[in-house]
């Protein structure tokens, strides 16, 4: 599969792809995140785990500009993200999926994925209306990319189906597809297997590995399914009530007494 890639592909930056440093996020008196730091390397699969309300989704919302942390910095290929708008961050090459699906249920699969391509479109309103020149070329190229993504995710059987009529497991894949349609450098996956049964979970895990292998992406994964995270992730960050308590490869995390106490439950291991 050919990658058109984001505008920053050719940019050389010596540091980590994503660097999160001392991020603190507060809502009124409640501290959602306190001094969270981690970085994500090229082609790394980094996972964030923690009990409900630990602040996992808050991290995503900070990364893609929905929340603005009061303290700390988030650098993506060396560029500071704090203070940028979500659209601008998406255009830099960061895409995400949502825990609760955010699809247009009355549109078909192609249209939902084409919407993901929107950040990559450059043609203006007039050429779009006249359907000439750049608008036309762009539409064809985008449609092609959407087909490639559908093939990767095996979504072709559903091409023209309204998304709302499809099973939940398929909708999860479509959401993933829409994020991929943005040609991201880094993909944020918010509980990709929430609500799935064992078979679907195994399918999705296989798909995530395949995507990473084929598109050479970095991924940040927030997940509840510990088993899956331990299998997939290169490194993990464990949060407890907004505070980082451990960071490292799965084997090290599983053996960490603080993690066992906070999350895995004492005596379970």
């Amino acid at each position: 599969m050919t990658m058109t890639g984001s505008r920053l592909d050719r940019r050389r930056y010596e540091g980590s792809l994503l660097e999160v440093k001392d991020v603190t996020l507060q809502f009124g008196g409640v501290t959602a995140l306190r001094n969270v730091s981690f970085d994500v390397e090229e082609n790394e699969l980094f996972a964030v785990i923690g009990p409900n309300g630990a602040g996992k989704t808050s991290i995503f919302n900070c990364l893609n500009g929905v929340y603005r942390p009061q303290e700390g910095s988030i650098r993506f290929q060396g560029l500071e993200l704090v203070g940028r708008r979500p659209t601008a961050i998406a255009q830099l090459g960061m895409a995400r999926t949502f825990q609760n699906l955010g699809l247009f249920v009355n549109l078909n699969v192609i249209d939902n994925l084409m919407l993901g391509r929107h950040v990559r479109m450059r043609s203006g309103l007039l050429s779009g209306m006249a359907w000439i020149g750049r608008a036309r070329r762009e539409e064809i190229a985008n449609r092609r990319r959407v087909e490639e993504i559908m093939e990767l995710l095996a979504l072709q059987p559903f091409r023209y189906e309204p998304v709302g009529s499809l099973p939940y497991g398929i909708q999860k894949k479509i959401e993933l597809g829409r994020a991929l349609a943005m040609d991201p450098r880094i993909l944020l996956l918010d509980e990709p297997v929430a609500g799935m049964d064992l078979g679907e979970t195994a399918d999705m895990a296989r798909l995530i590995l395949e995507i990473r292998h084929e598109l050479n992406l970095s991924m940040v994964l927030v997940e509840h399914d510990l088993h899956m995270v331990m299998e997939l992730a290169d490194r993990l960050l464990v949060l407890d009530f907004g505070e980082p308590i451990a960071i490292g490869p799965p084997a090290q995390i599983q053996a960490d007494p603080r993690v066992i106490a906070a999350y895995l439950g004492q005596g379970d291991q």
Binding site: M1, E147, E148, M150, E151, A154, Q156, P157, H213, E214
Partner: protein, 597 residues
């Protein structure tokens, strides 16, 4: 032998080429611009003309020759259906070499013995997944080179792997001229093929033991190709959708042999769950389905009806089998055929496994007359054919032209003719058991020849049971009756040396699950479902219902539900989704024992 014989004389055809590669060259001359194949890529159908097809086959052939493939060498082919499958097959045949097709779904542990037995030095595989299988198995075998058709996802393609593209490039006219090689070698090779030369090794599905490699000759393939022209009138320009795996002999004969012989357009769609869309887009004129595919299309119509309005449903119920034909066609059957894409179908074929009578009738009421073909891998997929689908239900019809069919005194069906194979790969004992000196092939099927020459298949000879009461029973027909319920996926009837028959039943998890939900019966998994007394009762009632139509000794008197569905991965099903009887019964020996105690 004084047993009844049915025979249809050999066809009277205009003389033409006698091998498929030669037919391909002829098609490229006769209709260079006509479409030989269409393949769906990124949502669009890409066309391959006969001249492009022929020249690519030639390039592949030269590329293979350059890699050292010569007469009698074997080339392993491990891929899903796609144009390159057909091209490789024809290229290998053109060199006088032998194609060994392996189902792409075959687990790696089972590919091993096939690779070893084939002694192939070159393999053509579809993608990374299949490449990995062979790389894992390669040590200690003759395999020297693996050609990969789709190299996506493979970071480094290194020895022994190389790309199909490179193979073709080596064989192009420009490349040959650059090497100062000879361009006429391909045509010379194709011209020197003899009808008795082996063209392919086709592995039998292996329902009762290990798969055996049937050696099929150019003559066998040509005979099977002629059957398509003469018997069911496959014509130039016919549209075919490739639905069944090309390693299934019936599909291979239609898509490679008959389509090349007649000049049809073969479509390779997206397959899988998108198969129905493919069929709707292509609107095939010739359509071959195994029973499981006809059932799947039937299910699609019925699911559609369930969500349709009351008026439509009533019209469908009334329209199927009732009312004036024209009105019925305009209001009911034509729209339904359109829904599944079978509006233009002129030749509808059922093969691969016995078609249930109810299924044939259902399709017939919609104006799709499915003609059943009976044949084994050993008879190159063709032996008998139902000419008149409206009267032939329940039988597998008359012998195809050039073929004789006889039922031996012990009930075994024997076939003789140009399509009968040349023996099994490296297995003289099995060959001697299957092929008589007089050319009769023992099919292993039990059958009856009717007065009008129609053959009826009763079951597999190896599967026949003798109960302790001395009753001889063929389990096949009983199993098919049991499986006619939407709740039953598969049934295996047992009873050898037992007082009465019993059955192992694999539920259809989906329909039984739906039924349980409707009835408010709680369950979590398939194995939990199997243990619900309501479910056991449901199946018991069905088995009793089936028993009412059967003779007393044929009735199933005890049964057990299998804890999970049978799959290919679990080793219970062949790639053609038939039950591996011996293996499955071994696995569930305890369950059988408990059923009788």
């Amino acid at each position: 032998m004084s047993a009844p014989v049915a025979e249809t004389p050999a066809p009277d055809l205009v003389p033409g080429p006698t091998t498929l590669p030669a037919w391909l060259l002829l098609q490229a001359e006769l209709r260079p611009k006509a479409i030989a194949m269409r393949v769906k890529e990124l949502g669009r159908w890409r066309e391959i003309s006969w001249s492009e097809h022929a020249s690519r086959v030639e390039s592949v052939g030269r590329g293979l020759a350059h890699a050292g493939v010569g007469r009698g060498d074997r080339v392993l082919l491990l891929s899903e259906n796609r144009p390159e499958w057909v091209m490789t097959d024809l290229a290998v045949q053109g060199l006088g070499a032998v194609t060994v097709g392996v189902f792409p779904s075959t687990p790696v542990a089972e590919v091993g013995p096939l690779l070893e037995r084939s002694r192939a030095r070159i393999a053509v595989v579809e993608d990374e997944e299949q490449l990995d299988k062979l790389l894992a198995l390669r040590d200690g075998t003759a395999l020297e080179r693996i050609v990969v058709i789709d190299t996506r996802g493979i970071r480094v393609l290194e020895n022994p792997a190389s790309s199909f593209e490179a193979l073709e490039a080596i064989g192009t006219v420009e490349a040959v001229e650059l090497r100062s090689g000879r361009l006429d070698e391909w045509r010379t090779a194709v011209g020197s093929l003899a009808t008795h030369d082996v063209a392919m090794v086709a592995f039998t599905p292996g329902t009762s033991g290990d798969p055996k490699g049937a050696l099929l000759t150019h003559g066998n393939l040509a005979a099977a190709a002629d059957v398509g022209i003469v018997t069911y009138d496959v014509r130039a320009g016919d549209r075919i959708v490739s639905c069944l795996p090309l390693c299934e002999i019936a599909e291979r004969v239609l898509v490679v042999a008959q389509a090349t012989r007649a000049g049809c357009t073969v479509h390779f769609g997206e397959g899988g769950d998108a198969l129905e869309n493919d069929i709707r887009e292509v609107r095939p004129t010739v359509f071959l389905g195994a029973p499981r595919l006809w059932q799947r299309l039937q299910a699609r119509v019925e699911t559609g009806l369930r969500s349709a309005g009351r008026l439509k449903r009533a019209a469908f119920r009334f329209g199927v089998g009732n009312g004036p034909r024209l009105l019925r066609n305009a209001l009911v059957t034509a729209p339904v055929r359109r829904r599944v894409g079978l509006t233009d179908v002129r030749v509808a074929l059922g093969g691969g496994a016995p078609m249930p009578t109810a299924l044939l009738e259902w399709w017939s009421s919609l104006g799709v007359d499915v003609h059943e073909i009976y044949g084994l891998t050993e008879t190159c997929g063709v032996a008998t054919f139902v000419v008149d689908a409206t009267t032939g239900a329940g039988t597998v019809g008359h012998p195809v032209p050039g073929t004789e069919v006889e039922v031996a005194p012990d009930g075994e069906v024997l076939v003789r003719g140009a399509s009968v194979f040349a023996g099994y790969l490296d297995d003289p004992d099995a060959t001697a058991a299957a092929l008589g000196a007089d050319g009769w092939c023992r099919t292993g099927d039990l059958g009856v020849l009717g007065d009008d020459g129609d053959l009826m298949i009763v079951g597999r000879r190896k599967e026949v049971l003798v109960t302790s009461g001395g009753h001889t029973v063929a389990p096949g027909p009983i199993e098919r009756r049991l499986a006619a319920s939407p709740f039953v996926r598969t049934a295996i009837v047992v009873g050898e040396s037992r007082p009465h028959l019993g059955a192992l039943v694999a539920l259809d998890g989906e329909t039984v699950g739906d039924w349980a939900s409707e009835k408010g019966i709680p369950f979590t998994t398939h194995s939990a479902l199997v243990e619900r007394p309501e479910v056991v009762e449901l199946i018991a009632a069905w088995i009793d219902e089936v028993g009412e139509d059967l003779a007393s000794e044929e009735r199933v008197r005890c049964f057990a539900l299998l804890p999970h569905e049978l799959t290919e991965d679990s080793g219970d099903l062949t790639p053609t989704l038939e039950v591996r009887r011996t293996a499955t019964l071994d696995r569930f020996a305890d369950l059988v024992e408990s059923m009788y105690s």
